[in-house]
């Protein structure tokens, strides 16, 4: 029964089926299942499949946005039932699009995938100045600072952000991504990691955290 519900949650997320996701989430509560397990073994498992399908070119952003709707609908029901001691302290990621850049579809996909993988994401949004990244890293005591840019005019702020966040927290790891970036540019900018798109961001983040 529990496995059926978990599979139902995962399938609902994969299919972007909001109604089914809500029903499965409610069923899991009625069955007195652990909410954290439902999120990780149901919703997150489904989103992981979506992410892999995107990486292989088998699904696209419209479908991912539907999956996100389904996942969020289930999470809204499950979250109030999370037990305080049920989860390990999640790794924190400060995430944002660098100054001058208002393109955030990629950043939002990264956020979605990271949250589904259990990271706590502090989303600073778009057009974020260096000082705001620094303040958020300090205030949140973040583990990772992740920067996105779609424009060559805005990616130039990445070295500044990387230098400044490392100044306030030397142990922080940084990762960058976005259309005009490459692994070589990321290295030149001093980033610890580079994700070519949202589908690989989780792996890069996990590898970085593991390496610290």
């Amino acid at each position: 029964m529990n496995e059926e519900i978990l599979n139902g949650l995962a399938d609902a997320v994969i299919a972007g089926d909001v109604e089914k996701a809500e029903k499965c989430a409610k069923d899991s509560i009625s069955a007195d299942m652990d909410a954290y397990t439902s999120i990780m073994e149901g919703c997150a498992k489904g989103m992981n499949v979506v992410s892999k399908k995107y990486e292989c070119g088998e699904t696209y952003v419209p479908e991912i946005l539907c999956s996100a709707e389904a996942m969020n609908a289930a999470m809204d029901i499950l979250k109030p039932h999370l037990k305080a001691d049920a989860t390990a302290v999640p790794k924190k990621i400060v995430l944002g699009v660098t100054k001058g850049d208002v393109h955030e579809i990629g950043k939002n996909l990264v956020k979605l995938m990271l949250e589904a993988a259990g990271f706590k994401v502090i989303d600073l949004g778009k057009d974020v100045p260096t000082e705001k990244f620094v303040a958020a890293v300090k205030e949140e005591n973040a583990d990772i600072c992740a920067l996105s840019a779609l424009m060559t005019t805005s990616m130039i702020f990445m070295p500044d952000v990387i230098r400044e966040v490392k100044r306030v927290k030397p142990s922080i790891v940084t990762m960058v991504g976005g259309g005009p970036l490459s692994a070589a540019t990321a290295e030149t900018y001093g980033a610890d990691g580079y994700a070519k798109d949202a589908s690989v961001a989780v792996k890069v983040a996990k590898d970085l955290v593991r390496s610290v």
Partner: protein, 346 residues
């Protein structure tokens, strides 16, 4: 470039660096004024082309097209970090907004008057009067907000179709305005957009939402007598290529088309699909102009030239998208040097 497009004998491959914000910066203007002021736009493009000796003529256009034209608000790129106009307010936020959306008067809509002013200055010098059509997914995304439109493609597809049909009607009116002003033989169409990228949508979604409209607008301008079209399928559109070919087939391969795909699309693939009829303009990796050295850019251009010159219908050395505004001028010179050294017909 005009020589290549009109079938004249040329001494080297043309160079068109797709320089917009770069042209402003290298001439000492702000990128904001470049997009807000037709005189700055025209003059800086002309001056930059003259300084470097490249072959493209001025044109007005930007990727956020659609929002302002249909009643939303854009910001001009005056701040550090900005590279092009950006949307502040999308005219469609709710399903009800779609029905309320009116087809604007092309002579007053958003950036159209600026674009027309640039075209008039071009026309006065015997250069083509360029206007922007096509790119329906990009255009509609700017009207509806890209993520909302992408979600509605599945949740409320009829609303996306409705907005796109209004965009098509507006683009036809814009085409009429230019053709009536200059005559079709003096006009050139620029068509493109990045939201069509297969990083965002599938080829099937391209086929469903935009292909019939692309065919319609291409037929429309060709039927009106326009001969020159610059197609810029931006970013990774490899999966859409058969559909782009379908546009040409449906139009009987009429007109002189230039294809400028993103750097993700190999030149060989473009030659295979379009080479028997069309010019290939391509497609050096744009960020490399900003981040790599003079020698590295020369080598990238050399490789591109050697592969592109195999196109039987002609080749133009171009980046795969707009030249980064912060490109060091020496790397534009590298394009010119490479074209003279490796792209000469003498």
């Amino acid at each position: 470039m005009f020589g290549l497009m009109t079938g004249q004998k040329i001494d080297r491959i043309p160079v068109s660096p797709f320089a917009m914000g770069y042209a402003a910066k290298v001439c000492g203007f702000s990128i904001g004024d470049f997009y807000a002021n037709a005189k700055v736009n025209f003059r800086s493009q002309l001056m930059a082309a003259d300084m470097h000796g490249y072959d493209s003529s001025p044109m007005y256009g930007y990727a956020s097209i659609g929002a302002w034209e249909f009643g939303g608000k854009i910001g001009f790129p005056y701040e550090v970090g900005h590279g092009a106009p950006y949307v502040i307010e999308h005219p469609v936020e709710t399903p009800e907004d779609v029905d309320r959306l009116e087809i604007p008067d092309p002579t007053r809509a958003g950036s159209n008057p600026i674009s027309m002013e640039v075209a008039k200055q071009c026309n006065a010098l015997g250069l083509p009067a360029v206007f922007q059509v096509g790119g329906f997914i990009t255009f509609a995304g700017n009207i509806m907000e890209p993520a909302r439109m992408l979600l509605w493609m599945i949740r409320k597809p009829e609303l996306v179709h409705k907005v796109i049909s209004k965009v098509l009607a507006f683009q036809k009116l814009t085409a009429d305005w230019y053709i009536d002003t200059f005559g079709p033989e003096k006009c050139m169409v620029f068509s493109g957009g990045a939201t069509e990228s297969n990083k965002l949508i599938s080829a099937k979604q391209f086929e469903t939402f935009t292909l019939p409209n692309e065919i319609a607008i291409n037929k429309y301008v060709l039927d009106k007598g326009i001969h020159s079209v610059l197609m810029h399928p931006c970013a990774d559109q490899n999966a859409n290529i058969p559909h782009y070919r379908k546009i040409r087939e449906e139009c009987g391969w009429r007109g002189r088309y230039v294809w400028n795909f993103g750097p993700e699309t190999p030149l060989e693939k473009q030659i295979e699909m379009f080479g028997a009829h069309d010019i290939i303009g391509g497609n050096v990796d744009p960020p490399s102009f900003q981040t790599k050295s003079f020698d590295e850019v020369i080598m990238l251009c050399k490789d591109n030239i050697e592969r592109g010159m195999k196109n039987p219908s002609g080749y133009i050395l171009m980046p795969g998208c707009e030249l980064p505004p912060l490109t060091p001028p020496i790397n534009v010179h590298a394009m010119m040097t490479a074209a003279r050294k490796f792209g000469s017909f003498e």
